[in-house]
Amino acid sequence: MTTATFDMPVGAQKPSSTAGIAVALLLPIALVNAIGFILPVFNLARMSFNEALPGGGIAEAFTAANWTGLLQDSFYIELILNSIMVSLGITFATLLASYPIALYLHRASGAWRTFLTVLVISPLLTSAVVRTYGWIALLAEQGPVANVIAAMGFQPPRMMFNTTGVVIGLTEILMPYMILSLMAGFGRLDPKVEEAARTLGATPFRTFWRVILPLTLPGIALGCLLCFVLAISSFITLKLMGGGRVFLLATEIYDQAIVTLNWPLAATLSMLVLIIFGAALAVYSRVLRMIEG
């Protein structure tokens, strides 16, 4: 009996104990998630089927009125579509602004790369509120950006308290997330492969379309998923840059919960955002399978 164990690899000797360790290691995060995420979401889901009484009251019920009302109201349909479109726009703008930076960082090496990476991450160390106020100062009616445009002889457009402002502000705020996701997804991009394309007669432009872009698609998909989710759920920048004039899902949830005190409707809208997340995730995994396939 005792000699048999000598032939077994380390760790394979007691399979039950390794499984036990795995459970023990996963337990804390599972517990935190259960209490901090699953439970509240469950509450929210339940709330969305309650009945809202005028004046902020809630009646325990099990009615789909919130949902049907929401989906029949053209204001909300437009709000939802608008939120999705604006978030997609922000995601796309973030991608365009971040891709060259990520590609450059991917190719850089040594201390220079470390320095630049720190530079990219550093905005995350300041709060979005501070950065948003920075943008407000820059984009204000008589601000530096407007002055430069005016100096060039153009009529400066309104860049504050409208969708333009929201897109500009959120794009900048989301860029570090996009850059980091892109870099994480650039693993398959071996410089040798680009060189191979060049020696086979591909111009830099065609090398980009045929080799670099396809190989960076996983990174693009990851970055877009993350930024879309962050954009559609962002609130502070939307509130400040929109100046109360841009109505999207996040502001509407806030208004319903805090101003109108219609919690069941706020819960329904929140669940709707969650459903949009799920859809985005489904699209993402679908795209990923297409890329890898």
């Binding site: 398959r188 191979a196 060049r198 020696t199 086979l200 007669g201 396809p214």
Partner: protein, 371 residues
């Protein structure tokens, strides 16, 4: 086909080279990895870059392909200076040491890539790709992705991808290193045939001397970023100009000796002659193991012929390697290895047996001891 070679400033030049490297220098920071490299390759020639790991073979190839720029010097193809031309404008095929296949494309797409860049019609592309894949015996794997192939299969895809474009210059960076012996032999023949048929000027990087000797027109032996010798396989093997070349290409016995007044070389108590005179007082003598004849019955060692060198030796060890047998002899404190084809009579040899080793003066290579 004979070509005249002319010596100019110690650099061998050939008339009208297809590829020429002039005074190429490459520095990484302060480190010079290629120093003053001069090389000319004829149209249709297959030339080997042979040298130990880290001697600068890949670096040289990458400079020819245009992937890195030389720090100094000029690269010309067919008389045209291409030093500052981008890689895609050079019409060269490169097989990378690490294959560098496109991971997101199938084998067929990988091979088709270069043809697509050249704007060939779909039908032409399909045709050529099928031929190229058949040549490397991978027709049945055309729809696989590179990650679903073995290392050797990937290497053959890389080879097909570079060959299919029929480039004006083919650059191969150890293209057969991952193949088994049989496949490697087949691929050598294939590469050689295609190269000759299409007359593609080819630079073949290898650290396998057999490969260099057996399939190349000329060999460039490199060491530490410098060219040691350029010559035909025969020249490199029979008339190495440096001790490094002599010991890197083929095996060799080496023993220290002293020049004597009459043009002989003294090794211990024996006197030998060499084909070329010794250039220094302290010399290094080299003899290839299979060029030495063993005379087990000879009594006298004193009789030195005009054309034969002779030395008394004691057998210290026998290594049986199948086709050949290696005798390790002790010659006055130095080990000499002699190789013979195996035959039955060898079975009776024992450690301590005495013999006389003899070899032709022609086969005696002599170098300065500090060379």
């Amino acid at each position: 086909m004979m070509h005249q070679t002319i010596k100019r400033d110690g650099v061998e030049t050939i008339g009208n080279p297809h590829l020429s490297l002039e005074g190429i220098n490459k520095k990484y920071g302060l480190v010079e990895v290629i120093s003053n490299l001069n090389l000319e390759v004829r149209k249709g020639e297959l030339i080997a870059l042979l040298g130990p790991s880290g001697c600068g073979k890949t670096t040289t190839l990458r400079m020819i392909a245009g992937l890195i720029a030389p720090s100094a010097g000029k690269i010309a193809v067919g008389g045209r200076d291409v030093t500052h031309i981008a890689p895609h404008g050079r019409d060269m095929g490169l097989v990378f040491q690490s294959y560098a296949l496109f991971p997101h494309m199938t084998v067929a797409k990988n091979v088709a890539f270069g043809l697509e860049m050249r704007g060939l019609s779909r039908a032409d592309i399909a045709n050529k790709v099928a031929k190229a894949l058949a040549m490397v015996q991978l027709g049945h794997l055309a729809e696989r992705k590179p990650r679903e192939l073995s290392g050797g299969q990937q290497q053959r895809v890389a080879l097909a991808r570079a060959l299919v474009i029929e480039p004006s210059i083919l650059l191969l960076d150890e293209p057969l290193s991952n193949l088994d012996a049989k496949l490697r032999d087949e691929m050598r023949t294939q590469i050689r045939d295609i190269q000759q048929e299409l007359g593609i000027t080819t630079v073949f990087v290898t650290h396998d001397q057999v490969e260099a000797l057996s399939m190349c027109d000329r060999i460039v032996v490199m060491k530490g970023g410098l060219i040691e010798q350029v010559g035909t396989p025969h020249e490199i093997y029979e008339r190495p100009t440096t001790p490094f070349v002599a010991s890197f290409v083929g095996r060799t016995n080496r023993v220290k000796g002293k020049r004597t007044g009459d043009g002989c070389i003294r090794i211990g108590s024996s006197m030998i002659r060499s084909a070329r005179p010794a250039v220094q007082d302290d010399v290094m003598v080299m003899v290839r193991p299979h060029r030495i004849h063993v005379d087990w019955s000879a009594a006298s060692t004193e009789r030195q012929g005009e054309t034969q060198n002779r030395m008394a030796a004691v057998l210290s060890r026998i290594t049986f390697v199948g086709d050949v047998i290696q005798y390790h002899f002790d010659v006055g404190g130095t080990e000499f290895i002699v190789e013979e084809s195996t035959k039955k009579s060898q079975a009776s040899r024992r450690q301590g047996d005495e013999a006389v080793l003899s070899w032709s003066v022609e086969d005696t290579l002599v170098f300065g001891a500090d060379q």
